[in-house]
Symmetry: C2
């Protein structure tokens, strides 16, 4: 059994992007990071994104409107970033505070600056397999993790647990695409699935993205399967200073002995999400410059 080291793979990707950005003459790529309010997880994610951008040499602008900003003002802020020639990518950190319409905000981002990949045009391009768009960062990061771990999905049965717009649905579409490394047979299970265990056990590659700590136990996994754990669940842990720890959707102790490969939490898919955001930002920069 091999533990897929997301930190190591993300670091390799970041080093490649750093070299690529260093070779850019003139203005460097720039990402605008919009964080509305002070949700602690959002604070930590946006900080990490800014740090990774700096490490690569990508400029970042952090905008911190208050939670009370209101829908219209937030959309105007996005529009001003759309019109700012110095901004290549725009990320509005999810989730937005209650009362704000996230889909409307994401739909307002100019598709060519939508480095998070949630504008319908970019989701549509994922359906089409049109690589001129931006794929959502977490599922794109899963595909990259698999490719860099020499897992070729062709002909494999990929079972995705969860049908979220952020992970499950786009992950299924990416695995299904007609291109090298993809070409998987794909099943999507979710909360309404009647016999999830029997489908999960058929997976050559099992992608767990349901947000339930330790849900995937060994009896749901075919021996030798590749197991990708997308869950990031906070569970109480009085033994820690923070009072909590992060666990995945996979019960690592029982599943890891029978999987052929498995991603840990933390240190698996998580670091790839940030790295793919940076790759999308460099791509946006190049597309906008006509390179």
């Amino acid at each position: 059994m091999e533990v897929i080291d997301g930190n190591r793979i993300a670091a390799a990707l970041i080093a490649e992007l750093k070299a690529e950005v260093a070779a850019i003459t003139g203005r460097k790529p720039c990402i605008a990071l919009v964080r509305v309010g002070d949700d602690p997880a959002s604070v930590s994610y946006v900080k990490k994104k800014g740090q990774t951008a700096a490490e690569i040499g990508i400029e970042s602008r952090i905008l911190l409107p208050p939670a009370a900003i209101g829908q219209a003002a937030l959309e105007r802020l996005v529009e001003s970033l759309n019109g700012d020639a110095g901004v290549d990518g725009i990320l509005v950190q999810s989730p937005l505070p209650g009362g704000l319409d996230e889909r409307a905000v994401f739909g307002r981002i100019a598709p060519e600056k939508d480095v998070d990949g949630f504008h319908p045009v970019n989701l549509g391009k994922v359906v089409q397999g049109d690589e001129s768009g931006f794929s959502p960062c977490t599922p794109a990061g899963i595909m990259e993790l698999l490719a860099r771990s020499a897992v070729n999905l062709e002909g494999k049965h990929v079972v995705v647990l969860g049908r979220s717009l952020i992970v499950g649905r786009p992950a299924a579409l990416l695995a299904l695409q007609n291109r090298a490394g993809a070409n998987a047979t794909v099943t999507v299970c979710h909360s309404r699935t009647l016999d999830l265990p029997s489908l999960a056990r058929q997976a050559d590659v099992l992608i767990a993205a349901i947000g339930r700590p330790g849900f995937v136990t060994a009896d749901l996994v075919k021996p030798g399967a590749v197991v990708i754990d997308v869950g990031i669940n906070r569970v109480a842990d009085p033994a820690r200073k923070s009072g909590h720890r992060l666990v995945g959707d996979v019960d690592f102790p029982s599943v890891s002995p029978i999987a052929s490969m498995i991603t840990p939490v933390p240190g698996g898919v998580g670091p790839m999400t940030v790295a793919m955001l940076m790759r999308n930002t460099v791509k946006a920069f190049r597309l906008r410059r006509g390179g």
Copy 2:
């Protein structure tokens, strides 16, 4: 076993649309049908669409540019229809003659007039489950056929054979949506799938859209399954005046005795595609009028 009568169900939908259009005061909905060149199947499809529009009371404008029109001129034609306030829906008949970039042409249609549902914005809305867009007509017609045959997909295992952009992928996304009548567990198989029969046999609802005449034989079908045949294959038949007949992807004689419900070819999914195009046109009219 029940044969799902697509002609009857499409006729019911067309009658509803006719009543709806009759109640519209002033200008009626209008669809522009663009057929490039003289492909015999395209001639027949566009004719049928024009006839159905007339039956409902939808105005149609048929544009017949020559196969030699060229990419730029065809895109200009689409742009002129985008800008024409009297046109609510635009359909460019697929397939286009060789040398023309179909995806670029479809991407040029204004999303709010894209009644065929192939613009990336509308495909993205299918991913999102955003009902303000237009779903591709054939998969939307399958969903409508199932709903009007009292087949509720919730918790059912839908296996889609084929991953085309026109049928397989959007059908999978529609069945997976989080809404009443959908909520299915979905598997997509295709040419690279290693053990298609064992997956097909797990289907509660089997959707065949691979374009191989009679491919689905009884050994691929679970007894009691609902079988939807999307194939329209021309096979030689010297006994017919035309020299050919249309057959589906399903071997009807062997499958029909074990299915609980099955669509025939012709007279199953086919009539629904045209009816859904008309429904999308009326929807486009209402959305553009702000109704």
